[in-house]
Amino acid sequence: MMKAMTTGIDKIIFMIAAAILIIGCKKPYNPSLAKYKTGELVVEGFINPGNDTTRFKLNRIVRLDTAVTAPVNNAQVIVEGADNSTYKLEGDTKGNYTAVLSLNNSQKYRLHIITTDNKNYVSDYVEVKITPVIDALNYSIKNNGLQINLDTHDAANTTRYYRWDYIETWEFHSKYESTYYVINNDIQPRPLDKQIYYCYSSANSANVLLGSSAKLTQDVIAQAPVAFVPSSSEKIEVEYSVIVYQYALTSDAFNFWQNLKKNTEQLGSIFDAQPSEITGNIHCTTDPTENVVGYISASTVQSKRIFVKNEMLPQSWKATYPYDCEADSIFEDITIGGKSVNQVDQQIKGSGVFLPITKINSLSHGQGYLASSPICVDCTLRGTIIKPSFWQ
């Protein structure tokens, strides 16, 4: 609620600024960053005490104006219990370190990292939080989109702080349905197993989602907004599904995530908080002045999935195709500059600049096809035709 309050003020300012002759204005801004050095260690992940995989990702901070990523490989990554138990994680070449741990929920654990330059990074010991189940995941129709809300509670009133992330999956279709395809330099009717009109795609949540019942008399989270899909999104043009994962947090971990959210998602208006340093609970013991980003917590995970079919949504909602598309007529016999040109050969069969949609005939130009760019016809460029196992 307090979060809602600050963002509310942010919005009101935008609103007033906008109201006053639409004065407010936002422009790109790219200052020079040449004088700064970066390279601090970033540790992301959490200790999963159950039978699921515990996964940590090690990276280094890169300069804002560069495009590279800098995974940290070949480090020793160990989960250590307060009872002196140790669990080693296996690394890959992308900075991922994984293991199935099966820990004792009443113990405290920490993460210990030794990098190849022999620097030691150690987190604070953290308790294992048991995440309550998600009671319900439901949707509500807002005037500008689909809102997915979550209910949960902890009868013991001990959880209080929650974090969520989710994976959205949706069925969508391309702009034009192609009924022909090119095979062996020939254009044939497209068989069902080669259809490229309906596809599935998915995406991870990009924002930090937090909830707290700390100010409530009971540990109840009601109608917490998780995912939102604008009414014009193609995610909901056929069917949409989202699985939400719930993690219980300690108040310290909650503060870290909230800070991260404030610093990276909520800046840019009049009552901005000062960006503050993100530190977390991992420290470099070799060089205490070195900053390390990341918060290690330990908790079980709960999840719940919901499906929303297009029929459940208002009929006035129309998806906007993300690309500009036009279908052209392509013929075998077009006279350009006094010469006859076979455009079908050139643009459909040869180069694949266009994909055929449907067959058309012309008295003067011979056989032809209505065709369009692949991005307008082929949904597999943005997804897969393989139906996910959980789809219903």
């Binding site: 609103m15 600024a17 002759l21 204005c25 936002k26 890169v62 409530l216 109840v220 000062q274």
Partner: protein, 922 residues
């Protein structure tokens, strides 16, 4: 009455004549010529004799006198002749004439009639005024320039000084002229009238000409003949052509002559000429054009004076503390321009009677209502309208003034896209003041103020905030040398946030800060060299730092009530302005402030030398109601001196120490209406600071061009900063989330003003730096490794030009140009992937700057015709804000959108904004 008084005077006559002419002479003349006679007497008495010897060439004097006063000697010498004498005792002069006697004093009827029949020596009578200070004397009402006003009972025998006091008023409205100056022609003596239009001058007896300047008033003079202490009320004519000039000084020479430094005074006329964003005169925006005043950006509530934070300014409206001086998040200032008379900003030598804030005092004074007739003004703007009515309740004695403003911005919001359409925002404010003159010695003033802002975003959360102030002031003149002002007042600031979108989470949050004040201020004109100001102030604070309650029965919100805090801040002060010589003046004052943090309260005790965290609480003690939990006390020094090198060139220096017991908790760059105040307690120390400054003031071109240069260095201790992720609202243990910082600020300020002529205005340039440092060993975390870092409002270069050019009395144009270095920001320098998105990593706090700020505004002002007698007087103001349309960065920020980090620059008034405003005066 007057006769009784004279009789009383005459009784003393005999005694006094002896006392005055007690220097007895023994003389022996035998047919002496006038030349011999005069040189002999001159040698014996030291008096200068003025005589045309040719007129006396036939006179021979034979006289034998032992031990007689000069007058008796002359009496006998000229007995039965046509020769006369006149003694001007205080000048030690004797005029000898034939046929006619010289009147050494020009008196109103009574005495001159009697004197001509009397022996001329009788002229040397006097009334010992000094014994009569407490006697009721009606004030002389002086309205005519060419008339000679006699003050005190006529005499010419006494040397020395007398005290002249009185009120300067507007002849038309009866309002007092505040900040006017009363100066003695051809001397350096002069004084500014105080907030009641009152002045007191110590002057030598004799004939003087007083020159009176008043802001917006026609300059006038009064010829006076001073015989004794007295009162002279002066009425001035208003300048009908109100657009004549931009004045920001209370007197043409005040900047050079006054002892105070770092004081800027703005009257409402000059404020109204500065182009404003929505055409409505904005006091705070004009204050921002003064040297040494900065703001974080446009549309912000606060302002920063010489490196102080926004909450370090004491903002007073008729002596009442205003906690939030703006409406609409700073788009409008809370002061109604139709009611305000003037604004004074103290930034280096803060008078001893003010305290409790570190950086400055902004003193806003409302007008008094018209005491003679009912008048009013009305103004219509794009978003707001104003109305003001004033008039007498009891003619010449009691008057009222009412000012009200309201907004009607909702029509604008309804034009917005769907997203904002169901929003609302509105404000109003009301000023109501009554002033009453009980008698010559007693005046009562009642001032009240109320403001209210409310807004709601798309039916979501409703916010409202407001100020409420009431003040009763009693001004009492004990005598011409001593007067007092007693003030009892109550100030309140409150806000409320509520939401009921999700009924189970519906809440109401109330916050308020209340203060009850009692102030007694005395001014005592000890003698010509000393003016003493002393008094006592006491403020009782009660803060309800957050009542978080359920909105309805459905709500599961746990009510959370942060316990009320209370404290008493008192101060005893005395200051003396001492004129060592007419050119060298000292002002030294001490203010002893005592602060008591009072129960009921529960206070945590933290283990010494450990970070203040919940794990380090060793005890928690609960105190009973009104128990003094903690006392902070400290003397504050206010010292300044002025040395006049020449009449229009002076040097000034000052040193101040200050304490502040009330902290504003805000980790946003600008003040937000929902920021909370916190009283100093055992865990949070009061802020303290000191400042040393030095200035050079020079006027040129008959004082129409004023220049000044001031330098300052300032230190601040125990200013609060915040730990990462600090929670400020509804936090019972705020001490765990704050850090102590120290600050230092220094700068040099240039100001040049042209006060008269068709072209007038001011131009200022400031170079200033402000740094903070957080090296609290118990903090647990350090900002920038414990090194100094620039404060948010550290803008090294700042330039302002405010000018007005008058074509005729009806048409004028105004131009306002502002340039400053961009404010510091903390830049993101790196990026990393976390929580599903790319995130930014920030560099050192405030290590970079946003692009420089530049803006120019223009307005064209048209006055209606200048016929004095017409039903209404109209005026128009048409202009453009941000003429060049430069998109100044209000802030820059970096945000993750769709997995990519983009930098953005947010501008608020990024286009030229035209405005129009229509005003009516009736």
């Amino acid at each position: 009455m007057r006769k009784a008084f004279l009789l009383f005077g005459l009784i003393f006559f005999a005694k006094f004549a002896i006392a005055q002419n007690g220097k007895s002479i023994s003389a022996d003349f035998d047919k002496a010529t006038i030349t011999q006679f005069v040189s002999d007497l001159k040698a014996r008495t030291g008096y200068q004799f003025y005589v045309d010897t040719t007129q006396f060439d036939s006179l021979r004097i034979t006289l034998h006198i032992t031990e007689q006063p000069l007058a008796a000697v002359l009496d006998q010498a000229f007995k039965n002749t046509n020769y006369h004498y006149t003694i001007v005792t205080d000048q030690q002069q004797v005029f000898l004439t034939r046929g006619k006697q010289i009147e050494s004093r020009i008196a109103t009827g009574y005495f001159s009639n009697t004197n001509s029949e009397k022996n001329p020596a009788a002229v040397t009578n006097n009334v010992p005024e000094d014994f009569n200070l407490d006697k009721e004397r009606p004030a002389t009402e002086a309205t005519v320039e060419n008339k000679l006003y006699t003050i005190g009972t006529a005499s010419n025998a006494v040397k020395g000084n007398v005290i002249l006091s009185g009120y300067v008023k507007d002849i038309k409205t009866g309002e007092s002229v505040v900040g006017g100056s009363v100066t003695v022609a051809n001397t350096k003596t002069g004084i500014a009238t105080d907030q009641y239009g009152y002045y007191t001058l110590t002057l030598p007896r004799g004939r003087q000409t007083l020159i009176i300047h008043g802001i917006g008033m026609r300059d006038t003079k009064r010829q006076i003949n001073l015989f004794g202490d007295g009162r002279l009320n002066i009425e001035m004519q208003e300048l009908i052509t109100s657009l004549k000039e931009v004045k920001i000084s209370e007197d043409k020479v005040a900047n050079v002559r006054s002892i105070e430094m770092g004081v800027n005074k703005l009257d409402i006329r000059s404020i109204k000429q500065v182009p404003a964003v929505f055409g409505e005169a904005d006091i705070l925006r004009v204050v921002l054009t003064l040297p040494g005043v900065q703001s974080v950006g446009e549309a912000t509530t606060g302002f920063n004076v010489r490196g102080g934070s926004a909450d370090q300014n004491l903002i007073l409206l008729n002596d009442a503390t205003i906690y939030n001086p703006s409406h609409f998040f700073g788009f409008f200032s809370a002061f109604d321009p139709d009611i305000v008379k003037d604004v004074e900003l103290y930034k280096s030598s803060i008078p001893v009677k003010y305290g409790g804030r570190l950086a400055s005092v902004l003193d806003v004074t409302d007008r008094e209502g018209n005491k003679k007739k009912f008048t009013g003004t009305a103004g219509i703007g794009l978003l707001t309208s104003r109305l003001n009515i004033e008039g007498p309740i009891d003619k010449d004695k009691t008057s009222f003034i009412l000012g009200a403003r309201t907004s009607y911005s909702n029509w604008l919001l309804s034009l917005l896209p769907e997203e904002y359409k169901h929003s609302s925002a509105s404000f109003y404010d009301v000023n109501f003041n009554v002033s009453h003159q009980i008698n010559e010695k007693n005046n009562l003033y009642l001032t009240t103020y109320m403001s209210h802002d409310a807004f709601r975003l798309n039916s979501d959360t409703t916010y409202s905030y407001g100020n409420k102030n009431i003040n009763l002031k009693w001004k009492h003149n004990f005598n011409d040398k001593l007067y007092s002002v007693l003030i009892a007042g109550y100030d309140r600031y409150q806000y409320q946030v509520s939401s009921n979108t999700i009924p189970t989470n519906g809440y109401n949050l109330n916050y308020n800060i209340n203060q009850s004040n009692l102030k007694a201020d005395f001014t005592y004109y000890l003698d010509r060299k000393n003016t003493i100001n002393f008094g006592l102030t006491s403020t009782y604070y009660k803060l309800h730092s957050g009542n978080f309650e359920t909105y309805s029965n459905q709500s599961l919100i746990a009510p959370d009530i942060v316990p009320a805090e209370q404290a008493l801040e008192s101060a005893l002060y005395i200051g003396d302005k001492y004129d060592l010589t007419p050119d060298l003046t000292f002002d030294f004052g001490v203010r002893y402030s005592i602060y008591n943090y009072l129960g009921p309260q529960t206070v945590d005790q933290y283990a010494p030398n450990l970070p203040r965290e919940s794990t380090n609480i060793i005890d928690s003690v609960t105190y009973a109601k009104n128990h003094i939990i903690k006392t902070y006390q400290s003397p504050e020094i206010r010292a300044s001196l002025r040395y006049n090198v020449t009449g229009d060139f002076s040097l000034k220096a000052s040193y101040n120490t200050l304490h502040q017991y009330l902290h504003l908790l805000s980790n946003t760059t600008a003040i937000s209406p929902t920021d909370v105040y916190k009283l100093s307690d055992p865990n949070i120390k009061p802020q303290s600071g000191d400042q040393v400054s030095f200035g050079i003031y020079k006027n040129a071109n008959s004082n129409t061009i004023e220049t000044s240069l001031e330098v300052y260095y300032k230190r601040i201790k125990d200013y609060l900063d915040y730990k990462s992720g600090a929670v400020l609202l509804l936090n019972d243990h705020i001490a765990q989330d704050v850090l102590n910082t120290r600050g230092k600020a220094y700068g040099i300020e240039f100001l040049i003003k042209k006060t008269e002529g068709q072209l007038n205005g001011w131009m200022s340039y400031t170079y200033s730096r402000t740094f903070l440092k957080q090296d609290d060993p118990n903090a647990g975390e350090l900002i920038n490794g414990g090194n100094y870092y620039p404060a948010n409002y550290d803008k090294p270069h700042s330039f302002n030009l405010t000018g007005n050019y008058r074509f005729t009395h009806r048409y004028s144009i105004s131009l306002n140009v502002v340039y400053s270095t961009g404010r510091p920001i903390t830049l993101p320098i790196g990026k990393y992937y976390y929580g599903g998105s790319e995130r930014v990593y920030y560099g050192d706090r405030n290590a970079d700057r946003i692009p420089d700020y530049f803006r120019s505004d223009f307005s064209f002002n048209i006055e209606g015709n200048h016929t004095v007698h017409q039903l209404t007087h109209n005026s128009w103001s048409i202009g453009v804000y941000n003429l060049t349309g430069r998109a100044n960065a209000y802030s820059t920020y970096f945000t993750e959108q769709g997995g990519a980090i983009n930098g953005y620059k947010l501008s608020i008034f990024a286009k030229p904004i035209p405005f129009i405003n229509y005003n009516i005066r009736f």
